[in-house]
Symmetry: C2
Subunit: 313 residues, 2 copies
Amino acid sequence: MSLKLTILGCHSATPRVNAHPTAQYLEINNRHFLIDCGEGTQRQMRKYKVGFSKINHIFISHLHGDHFFGLIGLIATFGILNREKELHIYGPKGIKEVTVLQLKLSKSWTKYPIRFHELESKESELIFEDDKVSVRTIPLDHRVYTNGFLFTEKAQPRKLNIDAIRQYNEIDICDYQNLKSGKDYRLENGEILPNEALTFPPPPAKSYAFCSDTTYKPDIVPIIKDVDLLYHEATFLKDREHLCEKTKHSTAEQAARIAAQANANKLIVGHYSSRYNDITAFKKEAQEVFECVELAEAGKQYSLNSYPIEVLN
Amino acid sequence: MSLKLTILGCHSATPRVNAHPTAQYLEINNRHFLIDCGEGTQRQMRKYKVGFSKINHIFISHLHGDHFFGLIGLIATFGILNREKELHIYGPKGIKEVTVLQLKLSKSWTKYPIRFHELESKESELIFEDDKVSVRTIPLDHRVYTNGFLFTEKAQPRKLNIDAIRQYNEIDICDYQNLKSGKDYRLENGEILPNEALTFPPPPAKSYAFCSDTTYKPDIVPIIKDVDLLYHEATFLKDREHLCEKTKHSTAEQAARIAAQANANKLIVGHYSSRYNDITAFKKEAQEVFECVELAEAGKQYSLNSYPIEVLN
């Protein structure tokens, strides 16, 4: 079980020299996901040593430029790097049309297949699942159709308690799979050994919720309940809360209220408006409601390998 | 008369941390033009202090990503910056469709007007003209429809030789316009004063030719004959000349041959392939054919205010 999040960009609206639009790289149970892809994301990936060939799934929350304009460049670069593996792109309806049009105009058809998974539902839906990870949408409320994404590790098998098992000669290696799956063991004398006596519980399955961009939307709380790590946009501070309704964004305090209601373990805020020069005020405001807050910054990594969450840099 | 060129990016293919795709900012006779707009151009514009509000005309050579993928982000940023002035975009047919589609999908219609000037001709044509500057296309030969651009200052009026004029009391201020336009002066005694006796020639009109991307194409020479400053792509060195036919690019030597045939004053080469770590070899190769060669580098400026050309940094 492992979960590591790398922030590639976390500012809103226009790219600036040291303020990059939204993009995140998530490593979860040996799956490697890119979340949003603002202009310049591929440059940020190179800067922070994200392996291009590892990415097979890209999740785009919405089609505003600061979350999306870097996608076509990344797709083209994959082609230049002679990618052959299939690439899956999850995003709002329209993402296929605009990507294909740009490839057509540049006569740069990729040699690798691209599978588009266009999203239209207003309900949370399962959009990816394998034996390691599942991904659900988190319907958000923004000026255009927008989804957040909930990434959840699959529960792993129980761990064998070898010392306990060795006390019973009759337990054979071919019984181990049943034990890992949680089954009790019946001895030849008929006695039932409860599974807990022979195994340890697996490390808890971890989860990460990405919520950007959105107004304050408490009805997402049941979807992200008890999430380990929550990224929630905080474009404004309370001083500009009046802008939230028009722009469909949130304040740091509102992000913290969602984290508190969801019983999240830790909150990361980002998507800061360029109106603010000092982002530390976002942490301070959020901490008035929810203690465990981190500020997203490009290059910052959050790991869930150890418990509690470790900020790597 | 003034001409200043700022290189914003000059590498081919994929953006890297310190290798930015093609974009140039040209100031010519108080007109401010952006030429090509690879991903990340707006960040480079901020880095090198290019005023966003000064740009009213953008020229796109072709629709490959490394010359074009930064355009939509710049258009969006102009909107965020509350631009009201009309923006003119010159580029291959299709540029309007893809731009409009992206604005539609993001529901981010600009409040300022955008005028698209879609190019289809395979002949050189005049695409911009006012009292200060004219711009012609330079048809190039690349994998997709591509134009270079020739920017030429309009000839300015002759300068009055006040000391000479003052020797003739009968020459009045209301005659000055005729003198500036080159007319001779008839004295009351019937004598003809040749214009050259009363005026100085204006500073020579300067010109800049941008040629990227293209194979070696000598038939552009008549279009750019006697150009002051020539940018010509040099993706490869001679060691990889065999790649030029397939990729439709040029070597540094070929760029220099065009400069020599065109009797250019100075050649700038750029659009280096990422295969080369040391770009100084491009200058060396070109100088075997043409003496006056500069290497394009992001942030480098070339000024024609003084004569000969001055490299500012």
